[in-house]
Symmetry: C2
């Protein structure tokens, strides 16, 4: 299309930013409350930030200057990068190692012994790299992780270029990498101290496994560390009926009130699963501004139960969405997770209206940003926000025709439909080619380690 003299002039005079990256030609789903999808639009990016969103009639930058990188989004959806609010990335190496087992047998006879045997900085590093590959390949630009040897995960994530909250795991057993359980808290504090403020993209945090596997004083110690450094404290909350029963037997209170009495419920607490909560507990979590993460596929696969997410949303909570680790899902595909979240809620309540496509898209983007305290930086496509953006290719039979972008993304797409991934203005995947990671090398190494794991 010809650009008129007036438009060229406008181009030259307009604003202070010269874009270094332009995503053009697609349907932009901004995820800003109340905004309709923009068709045939352009997103301009400069120095890691979104500087403009132009609609079809705005021909500014139809002819970009030499050196401006272009991503073609014709027949595609442009949307904020997906945020996975709960995973254990290194466990990607254990994908499918143990399935279809009773929960206790799975955890105590398979996963914990396996971790004790094979976890070390090397396996965590390569497992995390494999996880990063999968996250990027399926459109995740930011995630919250909690595991052991978190420094090895940090190195992998830095290489990948993803945005993340990385939390060192704390448990009252001899954790992998820490011989004496009493040192777990110190170990986590050292990790946070070392990496606080060191990276624009990576924030350190602390992760207590659960209120069953951590004592009250461990939980309080972790909370003090989270307060000291103003970083999130992640925890698994009321994931199983047995967990609730045991905590009630030991404390005489339902888990949320037990944690409240310990004084650790605040805006820095991220509570994953949150299945077995009664009305009073949900209200208490809301009052204390605790962040809730829904993990539907893992909850289904382990036969744990169904969180009352649409009820939480109705009273004003804005939960995030997570996949959990690959030993209980068994992938990191947030598009499938959105689909499962919506469908599971509908069948659990026998109400097809309860949790909508729009709700679960919010959970996976702007609400997820809020869970991680990043709602001013990411989660939507808006001028001034960080450029964490993905492009979804619609040129597949299963995405055709498109009546409504939200519906296509949630109910029809899968992670493999993601074409381009941008974090902080940097392209991590272009036309499904990885730009920061060597996928062949990582998968070869993962297969080699997998062979050792099966013989361990």
């Amino acid at each position: 299309m010809e650009v008129s003299g007036r438009e060229m002039e406008s181009q030259n005079n307009r604003g202070e930013f010269r874009p270094d990256l332009i995503i053009k030609g697609g349907t932009v789903l901004t995820m800003v409350q109340g905004q309709s999808p923009l068709h045939d639009a352009k997103v301009l990016i400069s120095d890691g930030k979104i500087t403009d969103i132009l609609d079809a009639d705005d021909h500014w930058y139809d002819r970009p200057e030499a050196g401006t990188e272009i991503i073609d989004a014709k027949d595609a959806i442009i949307m904020p990068g997906i945020i996975n609010c709960h995973t254990h990335l290194a466990m990607t190496l254990f994908r499918g190692f143990a399935d279809d087992l009773p929960l206790r047998e799975w955890l105590f006879e398979k996963i914990f012994p396996l971790e004790a045997k094979v976890l070390n900085p090397e396996t965590v590093y390569w497992g995390s790299l494999l996880g990063c590959l999968e996250l990027i390949a399926s459109g995740v630009t930011c995630f919250a992780d909690g595991y052991f040897f978190e420094e090895a995960t940090l190195k992998a994530v830095q290489k990948a270029g993803l945005r993340s909250l990385l939390s060192q795991g704390v448990i009252d057993f001899a954790a992998p990498g820490v011989d004496d359980p009493r040192k777990n808290l110190i170990h986590a504090r050292n990790f946070i101290e070392r990496y606080s403020g060191l990276s624009k993209l990576i924030r350190p945090g602390i992760f207590c496994h659960s209120a069953l596997t951590c004592s009250g004083s461990t939980l309080q110690g972790a909370w003090e560390i989270s307060l000291e450094f103003d970083v999130p404290l992640q925890i698994h909350l009321s994931e199983t009926k047995e967990e609730v029963d045991e905590i009630m037997a030991k404390s005489g209170q339902r888990p949320v009130f037990y944690l409240d009495e310990l004084g650790i419920l605040d805006q820095n607490l991220i509570a994953a699963h949150s299945i077995y909560l009664d009305k009073n507990e949900i209200n208490c979590l809301k009052q204390r501004d605790v962040k809730i993460v829904h993990v539907p596929e893992s909850n289904m696969k382990l036969g744990c139960g169904i969180a009352r997410i649409s009820e939480m949303i109705r009273i004003g909570l804005q939960p995030g969405l997570g996949t959990d680790g690959c030993s209980s899902n068994n992938n990191l595909d947030m598009f499938q997770e959105m689909d499962s979240a919506a469908k599971l809620s509908k069948v659990a309540e026998l109400d097809p209206v309860g949790l909508t496509a729009k709700n679960v898209l919010e959970m996976a983007t702007i609400w997820g940003a809020g869970i991680l305290g990043l709602q001013d930086q990411i989660g939507s496509i808006e001028k001034g926000k960080q450029a964490d953006i993905i492009v979804i290719d619609l040129n597949s039979p299963h995405l055709c025709p498109m009546y409504d972008p939200a519906s296509i993304l949630v109910y029809s797409a899968n992670g493999s439909d993601v074409k381009d991934v941008i974090v902080n203005g940097k392209i991590l995947m272009k036309d499904r080619r990885f730009m920061t990671l060597d996928s062949a090398q990582i998968m070869e190494k993962a297969r080699e380690l997998g062979g050792k794991i099966i013989r361990a």
Copy 2:
């Protein structure tokens, strides 16, 4: 690898079949009861049939003759083609047209009026072609369809080269294409008479919408036609609580016993959904050898309920698996459907052991073949069976590493991981290129028709 003189001799003298197609180098999951996966194996195909399965040590045909087609399955799984036992293919054109609505509003205010307005042989033909593209792209080689203008679907499926049961829809309203409801049965009978025995791959059938929308005499008339031509009769059974209540109000009996009294329960009846069944009804269906199809994602999305599939399997039933049409799922991806089936059963029963990866793979292959009366022809990779085979590429981060093929296929893969699709020895997709259909033309036409539908 060098082939020795003795092996060459063996090659020349062995058997009567010269393969015209060889799939080589992959892990073969035969789906034959008790057989372990074969690694680095070869499947030989001649004249539409499987003539041999060779393990890694068998070097027969390492050097195929000129003209033999080769499919490379290195780093891939070779398995029987997936069987989708319940769909309404032409509705692929309505994917995402109406979501997140109460069931009655969805059906009576959106879908039925839409069908009355836009259904004609042209929309059904192109909707079916779009559906065929999606089925092939996601590894389905055989499916059961029930809809209106079924002759138009038949033309599309013939062009695609898929195996199928295609059933003309019967309902006691003025159905699309038939002005007078009394003519629906005659119309269906004519369709079956015309296409019985005409095609090796396509079998005609009859599809009664439900025991609510078809009277007792219509159901008996349909059953007589199914008896006359020995073809399946498909029906939606006890999909919603309301349906059960209304049938009980009108007949005084639970739906299965109402149908039994009509005399239509036999081995030709295929009952999709089958959610609200009590123990006696399940036993009755088993006694009468009625075929049951589980449709979990549609049941979730429409908020209908959860079928007691693992209980049915425990008493010896072998259900099939189906996606339903794209207006209630919203895709035809049977890999996601297997995942959902297993996970939904586990969470519904709070038992992670109930429905296993192996179970749902059987539902989607050998049991599905049994539902359609084709268990001697398809559903497993065995010498003498029809060559309906697919190859799944494992070269993706989300399928790495692989400890167990069944786990990877059910819990980690999606339809887009399918690389090659073979039906009756003919390649329908090779390296994700469609061999029988023009995908660009079909998607363009679907988008054009979608534009008209949204304005209708």
